[in-house]
C-alpha cells in the first residue's frame, strides 16, 4: 500500500463489504482524515470526515447501480480555502468479474477551475462590450426597416432590413463565443420560464437567413397557427435550435431546401429541422452528437466549425427530458427533431410559473 504514497492524486479504495482498505496520503490530506486510523473501518461510519468524504461515500453507494462516475465537487478545505476536486469512481472487479470493491481517484483541479472562471468572466465582459453597441444597431435598424421612423423607399427598406439581419447574425456569433467558454461549467435547462416556443423557433431562423440566401437555399417555416406554451430554459433552447438550423444551412448545397417545423402531438410539441443536404451515413448517427466529432469526409471538410453544435444541442434537449432524433441517409438530406411537453393551454406567454 505504501506504493501509493507518492501519487499526487488521492486514492480511496473500499472493499466489497464497504470497509476502507486504502487511503493514500493525498486523499487523507484532501479529506482531512488520518490515514492509518481509518483503515479497516466501514467507509460510511468514518468520523471527522468532511464534504469530500461525504461525496466519495455517496458515489461509492451509487457505484453498484451506475458503474463509473465523474464529478467535480466544491469543498471548503481547512487550510486551503475553496477547492475543486474531480472525483472519479469505479467498481474494481477481480479476474472472475466479481466486484472486489470501489475505487475513487481524487484530483485537485482547483487551478484549472480558477483559470476557467477567469476566462469565462473575461468572455462575459467582452460579450457585454460587444452587445452594447449591437443593441443600438439592431434597435435603430429595426425601427427603420419597420417604417416606425417614417416611410422608406423600397431600396432603403431593403438596406435597413439587411443591417438588421446582419446585427442579428453578429448577435448569434457573440452568443456562440460566450457559450464556448461556458461549455465546461454549464448545467443546461436550469433557468426555467414559460413562453411561446413558436416565437423562439421563428427567431432562431433569422441569424441564418443571410447565409441561406448566399447559397440560394429555400428556407421555409411550417408552424401551427396558435402559440404553443412550454416551460423551458429559453436561452438554452434557443442555442439548441440555432445549432440545428445552422447545421442544416451548412450541410445543404446551393439551391437546396431547409424546412423548420413544429407540430402538436397530443400533450407534446415536436420541433425540428429538415434539409435536402448531403445527409449522414447511419453509422455516424450516434457519433455526431459526441463532442468535437465531425464526419471525416472530403465533402464536408470545408464546412469548418468546432464540432460542438450537436453535442451542446443534445445536452440541452436532454436537460429538458427529451432527445434529438436523427433521420438521414447519405446523400438524401437529414431530419433532426425533438419533442417538448406542452404547458397548460396554448395562450400567450406567461412568465410567473
Amino acid at each position: 500500500m505504501t506504493g501509493f504514497a507518492d501519487v499526487m492524486n488521492g486514492v480511496v479504495f473500499a472493499d466489497a463489504e464497504g470497509n476502507l482498505a486504502l487511503l493514500n496520503p493525498a486523499a487523507a490530506h484532501l479529506s482531512g482524515l488520518g490515514s492509518v486510523a481509518s483503515i479497516g473501518r466501514p467507509l460510511a461510519q468514518l468520523c471527522g470526515r468532511g464534504e469530500l468524504m461525504d461525496a466519495v461515500i455517496a458515489h461509492h453507494e451509487a457505484a453498484g447501480d451506475r458503474g463509473s462516475s465523474t464529478k467535480v465537487v466544491e469543498i471548503h478545505h481547512s487550510e486551503r480555502d475553496l477547492l475543486y476536486i474531480r472525483l472519479q469512481t469505479d467498481v474494481v472487479r477481480d479476474a472472475h468479474g466479481r466486484a472486489a470493491g470501489v475505487m475513487s481517484i481524487l484530483e485537485d483541479v482547483t487551478a484549472n477551475y480558477k483559470t476557467d472562471q477567469l476566462r469565462n468572466q473575461y468572455l462575459s465582459i467582452v460579450a457585454h462590450e460587444l452587445r452594447t453597441p449591437l443593441t443600438g444597431i439592431k434597435t435603430f435598424s429595426t425601427m427603420l426597416a419597420k417604417g416606425r421612423l417614417g416611410a422608406l423607399e423600397p431600396r432603403q427598406r431593403e438596406v435597413a432590413e439587411s443591417i438588421r439581419e446582419q446585427s442579428i447574425r453578429l448577435e448569434h456569433q457573440i452568443d456562440k463565443l460566450v457559450n464556448l467558454g461556458f461549455l465546461e461549467s454549464q448545467e443546461y435547462g436550469r433557468d426555467l420560464q414559460t413562453f411561446d416556443v413558436l416565437e423562439l423557433v421563428r427567431a432562431s431562423v433569422t441569424p441564418l437567413l443571410q447565409p441561406a440566401r448566399d447559397k440560394t437555399l429555400e428556407v421555409s417555416l411550417d408552424l401551427p397557427e396558435t402559440a404553443v406554451a412550454v416551460q423551458a430554459d429559453r436561452s438554452d433552447l434557443r442555442r439548441a435550435l440555432q445549432a440545428l438550423v445552422e447545421n442544416a444551412v451548412k450541410f445543404t448545397p446551393a439551391g437546396g431546401r431547409v424546412r423548420v417545423f413544429a407540430s402538436i402531438e397530443d400533450s407534446e410539441v415536436s420541433i425540428g429541422v429538415e434539409d435536402s443536404g448531403i445527409g449522414i451515413d447511419p453509422r455516424y448517427h450516434r457519433r455526431i452528437f459526441e463532442r468535437f466529432f465531425q464526419v471525416e469526409d472530403p465533402l464536408t471538410r470545408h464546412h469548418g466549425g468546432a464540432g460542438l453544435g450537436l453535442f451542446v444541442a443534445q445536452g440541452i434537449v436532454a436537460a429538458h427530458g427529451s432527445r434529438i432524433e436523427v433521420t438521414s441517409e447519405l446523400g438524401s438530406g437529414a431530419k433532426f427533431a425533438f419533442s417538448l411537453r406542452k404547458c397548460g393551454s396554448t395562450g400567450r406567454s406567461g412568465d410567473e410559473g
Binding site: 452587445r131 443593441t135 434597435t139 425601427m143 448577435e171 433557468d191 426555467l192
Partner: protein, 124 residues
C-alpha cells in the same frame, strides 16, 4: 392617461435607442444613468414601470432592485431586468428578487413593447 417608464442604465446609446422604441409606442420615458439616481427618480416620479440594467458603476442592478423592493414607496412598481450579460439562472434570480421579468439585450423592439404592456400596471 400617459404611462411613464423609467430606464436605469449607464449606457447612453441604450437609453436613446430604447427610448425611441418606447416613445414610438406612446410611452413617456425618463432615465437615470446609475442605481442611486434611479432610486431617487423612482421615488420622485413614481413611474408605471422600470427597466433596470445590471452592470452599472456604483451600486449594480441587483442591489438597486433590492433597494427598490425594500422601499414601500417603490416596492409595487414592476421592474424588468434588462441585461447584456449572462447571469447564472438570471431569470429565476430576477423573479426571486421581486423583478417582474428578465430581458436580454440586444432585443426585438416588438418583444420589448409586448413585455412592457404585459407588466405595466401589474402589482408585483
Amino acid at each position: 392617461m400617459e404611462r411613464t417608464i423609467l430606464i436605469i442604465e449607464d449606457e447612453k446609446l441604450i437609453i436613446v435607442s430604447t427610448q425611441m422604441v418606447l416613445e414610438a409606442a406612446g410611452f413617456r420615458v425618463e432615465s437615470a444613468t446609475n442605481g442611486e439616481a434611479g432610486i431617487s427618480k423612482a421615488r420622485e416620479l413614481r413611474p408605471d414601470l422600470i427597466l433596470l440594467d445590471i452592470m452599472m458603476p456604483g451600486i449594480d442592478g441587483w442591489e438597486t432592485l433590492t433597494r427598490l423592493k425594500r422601499d414601500p414607496e417603490t416596492a409595487a412598481i414592476p421592474v424588468i431586468i434588462f441585461t447584456a450579460r449572462e447571469h447564472t439562472r438570471g431569470h429565476q434570480k430576477s423573479t426571486e428578487m421581486g423583478a417582474a421579468d428578465y430581458f436580454r439585450k440586444p432585443f426585438e423592439p416588438d418583444e420589448l413593447i409586448e413585455l412592457v404592456e404585459k407588466h405595466i400596471g401589474s402589482q408585483v
